[in-house]
Symmetry: C2
């Protein structure tokens, strides 16, 4: 019997707890601050937007948070997700490295996003909330939340960035199929949207505007709350189910990772993969290198400053200490829409400052080169976001070919690319280009970041 292609877990091995990395850190992350008073925000400040169950997770000091059985029941529609050994890719690269990828594209929405959408819908439903609002860009998060709301009988209202709403209509179709209402943003439905439209009737929208609309709609109705798909502590917490499973799966084949690599936008998929391995590393049980890969056109970790900034363009969120390119910086339209965010999760930013992982930026053509190789060997068509992690894994495997090292490389394939074929069309027709790091635009945006005394 050859070494397996897929390492599967039985449903009885589905993790029972999410892992909270904060108690294991040498120091806790800096608190979010109220935008007016610059004082730490308390649970009550967040209560208009989030249910108390999630707010408590946002600030918890417990190392483990139990996954409610109702959430595990929905997880079982696709979890535990498979860990793949990339035999074909290894052979193609002629490398002694052993490449594993944890595949989250098996979820109904096709990415890791339902890992947090499901508990977010659950805790809201448990507290009597009737409807959730959110924003979405290309639509991965919006479709995940639409799916999760259908599971718990919640209404779901999504503001999708107008450019994506028009150019990639099928993610919105998917949201509607699951029962959500989808609006092109900016919309006439909110004051924030109307203000933009009054000035720019043809505005293509932005994630920042869409956030403002979704937040405004949630605040306007007592039975409605808001959901965010990355960045926050409770989102990263929910995603640790990925890493906990991967730990069990690697143990089944007797391997421990030498390198863990993931792509970062807001950071939740990467964090979800590596936090449980970091716990093992901090306890001295393994010693993997840990690498975040971000797009060269939006390199918040490698080029951003670590300081307090807003999470949204309009400045409606609390101030969060994070790596940022400036809250009103608009990244170039790279195809990895999920990585086009000006900031980085505050928790991940803190870990980066503590030196607990490394980061680098890669250009999108190099990512698509790796994606082509991956698709032709392993079959799966990756979403543009995880091609960043694949590119780094391929490069490391090629390095192993030179050195002869049989390193164990673990990466996250956080979603399939079935709704991103236009990006592959651009690549295959030679129209895909790289975007230089927009130093000037970032400098201008950074000049508008509020000054906060730590």
């Amino acid at each position: 019997m050859a070494e397996p292609t897929k390492i599967l877990l039985d449903e009885s091995e589905l993790p029972t707890h999410w892992y909270n990395v904060i108690p294991d850190l040498p120091e806790p992350p800096p608190p979010p601050l109220h935008p007016g008073t610059h004082q730490p925000v308390g649970p009550e400040d967040l209560a208009p937007l989030f249910p108390m169950g999630l707010i408590l997770q946002e600030v918890t000091g417990e190392r483990y948070v139990e996954i409610p059985e109702a959430v595990r029941e929905v997880y079982r529609l696709w979890r535990p997700s498979p860990l793949y050994r990339a035999h074909n890719l290894e052979r193609h690269l002629d490398t002694p490295a052993r490449i594993y990828f944890k595949y989250e594209g098996v979820s109904p929405a096709g990415s890791h996003k339902p890992n947090t959408a499901v508990p977010q819908a659950y805790y809201n439903a448990a507290e009597g909330v009737e409807r959730l609002t959110t924003e979405t860009g290309a639509g991965q998060w919006g479709s995940a939340l639409a799916f999760a709301c259908a599971q718990f009988g919640l209404g779901c209202e999504v503001w999708q960035v107008a450019a994506s709403f028009t150019q990639k209509p099928y993610r919105a179709s998917m949201m509607r199929l699951w029962g959500a209402t989808v609006h092109s943003s900016p919309s006439e439905l909110t004051a924030a949207g109307r203000a933009v439209l009054a000035e720019h009737p043809d505005s293509p929208g932005s994630l920042g505007i869409a956030i403002s609309e979704a937040v405004e709609a949630a605040l306007a109705d007592e039975q409605t709350k808001y959901a965010l798909g990355s960045v926050l502590n409770h989102v990263l917490l929910h995603q640790t189910v990925i890493g906990e499973e991967a730990l069990l799966q690697l143990a089944k084949v007797g391997d421990t990772p030498d390198l863990i690599v993931g792509c970062t936008g807001g950071g939740s998929n990467f964090a979800g993969l590596f936090f449980p391995f970091l716990r093992e590393k901090l306890a001295g049980r393994m010693a993997p290198s840990i690498l975040a890969v971000e797009p060269a056109a939006c390199p918040s970790l490698t080029k951003g400053e670590y300081r307090y900034d807003f999470g949204d363009v309009a400045g409606m969120t609390p101030l969060m200490k994070m790596h940022t390119l400036g809250h009103d910086f608009i990244p170039d339209p790279i195809h990895a829409g999920g990585l086009r965010y000006h900031g980085m999760s505050p928790l991940l930013s803190h870990l980066y400052e503590l030196g607990l992982f490394e980061a680098e930026a890669i250009d999108q053509t190099q990512c698509f080169d790796a994606a082509l190789t991956f698709a032709r060997t392993q079959g799966i068509v990756p979403a543009p976001e995880p091609t960043h992690a694949i590119a780094a894994a391929v490069r490391e495997a090629e390095r192993c070919r030179e050195t002869g090292e049989s390193k164990v490389i673990l990466t996250a394939l956080c979603g399939h690319g079935h709704f991103d074929m236009a990006a592959y069309d651009a690549y295959l027709s030679g129209q895909l280009r790289d975007h230089d790091y927009p130093a000037e635009a970032v400098a201008e945006a950074m000049a508008r970041v509020p000054v906060v005394e730590d």
Copy 2:
């Protein structure tokens, strides 16, 4: 521990053999006939189009055909595929029935088609063939073959029906990503295509024209052969891996099916699911009802005549005894493109005549109603084709609610609908309509079917 949601098999449980139903039948199916002489065709007649490895499988009398290890290795990229227990759907329907679905959407191409594309590419490569041609409609088969050819280093050239090529460009993107060349059909590249274009420069194409182009291209080059995605015996044989796995999976949870239901176009997915269960039934080890569901707009089994006809519009194939609506009948443009075929697999047609399964036709709006319920409960977005099987399963489960029977229903979810969201858009916006059975067009087409003395 609750009853599992997914019944998984280990890779070591992947079937080692495909099952050939023919030796277990009370009489063999009638042979295909040469279109000129009306004499049975021999292996040598098929040699210009197919490699000998597949021709021998087409006519084999062995009950079991070993799956080559190289094919099993590629199968392991997604096989064994999961068998799901549809707990959520059952609860929603408030039924005592136990509904299982075998999910083939986990393959790289998103359907059951790679189950045969992979061995077809393998046997061609093993005999030194360098390139395969094929036709495709919406693109499920073309993308499966493109994937399979990439695995074995074969070139792949696909003629896609022009209407689909234009309206659903992303399946062609997927084929190109896997290295295939894709042409809109009719094309200027073949005499058959040029003849059509000379008369109809704006021809939207048809599967029949595309077959003629792919066959012509294969015949024009010694290193090139042709591949077909359904209908033929060897295709049905390869698909039996589905049913063999499902047998093992149901045994793990101690259930035997009372009803097996699948959708039929050419018939390969349905046959692949039920042939192994039919073996068990003929041996007296179980007694399931077996039901094929076809679209009301293209009901070859329930309304077609059982007689010799061509497999393609142009009359280039051997004459095959099958249920047919007439080889030049053009079905209405229903969304289940994979079920828009004028004929039915000769082997399945023979089994139908022997009374070994039943068939019915269902309208597409009823199918999409069931698909919406399925997507909102189980999460997975089904391709339009398997919604026919889901509709029948839902109806039977509702009947069980009335009678109190806890029947075990097994169905095949042969693919996801990620590339079919336009169909859901039409449904959700109320624009989807049913197509009456076109009795007059069928009668006209049947008048053009050649008369063959049996």
